[in-house]
Symmetry: D2
Subunit: 155 residues, 4 copies
């Protein structure tokens, strides 16, 4: 996880909520073999927000020699998961839609930026934008979250 | 690729279209490092249809100890890609939506079954259902395809 | 409501479930000013299924002189609502996606055919296909339903 | 159309683009029987943006005595249409997804705020948020636009 990721948020959240988001993310990250195995890096975390980066590797290329859509989705899904679990209430994705806008190529550094749009009861809606190293939007994802019982960490 | 996958189709397509679908899939498969690296197996291919299977591995588990949604999506996206390129006209996904209905766990054998719903001009709509080894539907995906220029193979 | 709509189902459901679906639909229909005002007709109802028809009127045309997408969606949404309330458990739509495949024009007779794809706990997924009088698919809708407390009728 | 709607945009667009957006919207509005018939009001228009309002009428209520989802969608779809035609290049919706977050009731004044997220070639992605008179988000819509040939007005 990068140093100082909290500073990337435009409006600093209350310190306790921020500390909880960081601790929950660190715990989830430690046991998230999928995100680790795909070489993802946590770039920023805050209540309701997470930025996660990933470099396109040779084993991520499909039969058209561009990044398989599954890995672009996986990056967005990880950012979504860290954002919606940032309140330390165990939450899963119930649905997502993705618009693929431009291809990603070998070596591209992709960043997925997830933020909460609405939260109501156990349901939340998150937008996750995926950009490349030139700042071009390559995919737009919208996800719906569902809170189940349990906490990510014992606070 | 399994033997006899053509026989899985309810209505046998004309032999030439089927042969072209098989050749296009074999060529795409050979260069699809992503699907191969995720341990996918082509189960069936026919014009407008493809079934692809994948076993959930330890490196596919997320922080909740269930299969990361990205890999479920990737499986569906691969089946979608093989189905929509089965006419040997180069086609990419422009958008997808996924509903996650049940979790997948370590060792589960997932099969994504893609079939064309509509085709009109350069645009197609495909439904891709993901089931586990007990026949339970764990995800429903709908994808929109966009045909670009080029062919998968020289026929 | 047409005579004999139950006969349109490929597999006849148990008589009690069918009778309940018909009674629930009749009660909902009676108080559904929106569907009535748009000139919709119930064509078929069965557990988990409903077909609803609508003719494109002059007041449904948009600035491009084709049927405003809102009315195509409304037709699909009504069929969805009748299908997912057919078990007499009050259910609402939580999300929908629609792919517009062809325009509808003045006087076209559209039919939306809704059927349940999956049901699990309080959540269901329904597919609703909208066809015109020539059998052409003009829109594909997928909806997610959420059961709340209450019943449509006292059975 | 309200007076001074251009002033609602945070960053004033170049005067010519704004004038073209206003003229295109006025022309579309004049022939859009659907939006007029539903009692919609144009609140703001700018290049890539449109706000449209609608009051929930008795004939918009469904069998649950809340606003039929079709009318909420129709409002969003109209705002989307005015936004994506604001460059005076004829554009239609190819797909939309809607998340219903809260019900709308009789007399509620709903406003749909559409803005362009990305544009690339003939394809655009728009987000349309629907809020009520208390500023509560009742639905989130994401739409995909496709530019066809032709212009809305002769400039």
């Amino acid at each position: 996880m990068d140093e100082g990721f909290a500073a990337s948020q435009a409006v600093a959240p209350p310190a306790e909520a921020q500390a909880l988001a960081e601790r929950a993310a660190a715990a989830m990250w430690g046991r998230d073999h999928a995100s680790q195995g795909l070489g993802m890096r946590m770039v920023a975390i805050a209540p309701g927000r997470a930025d996660v980066a990933m470099t396109v590797r040779p084993d991520m290329l499909n039969g058209h020699a561009i990044c398989h859509g599954g890995f672009i989705f996986a990056l967005a899904d990880s950012a979504f998961a860290f954002a919606c679990n940032s309140y330390n209430l165990t939450t899963v994705a119930s649905a997502c839609s993705i618009d693929f806008l431009a291809p990603a190529r070998l070596g591209d550094v992709l960043t997925a930026r997830a933020h909460e749009r609405t939260a109501r009861g156990r349901t939340g809606v998150y937008d996750i934008d995926v950009v490349n190293q030139r700042g071009e939007v390559i995919a737009l994802v919208r996800g719906k979250s569902h809170r189940i019982n349990g906490q990510v960490i014992v606070p």
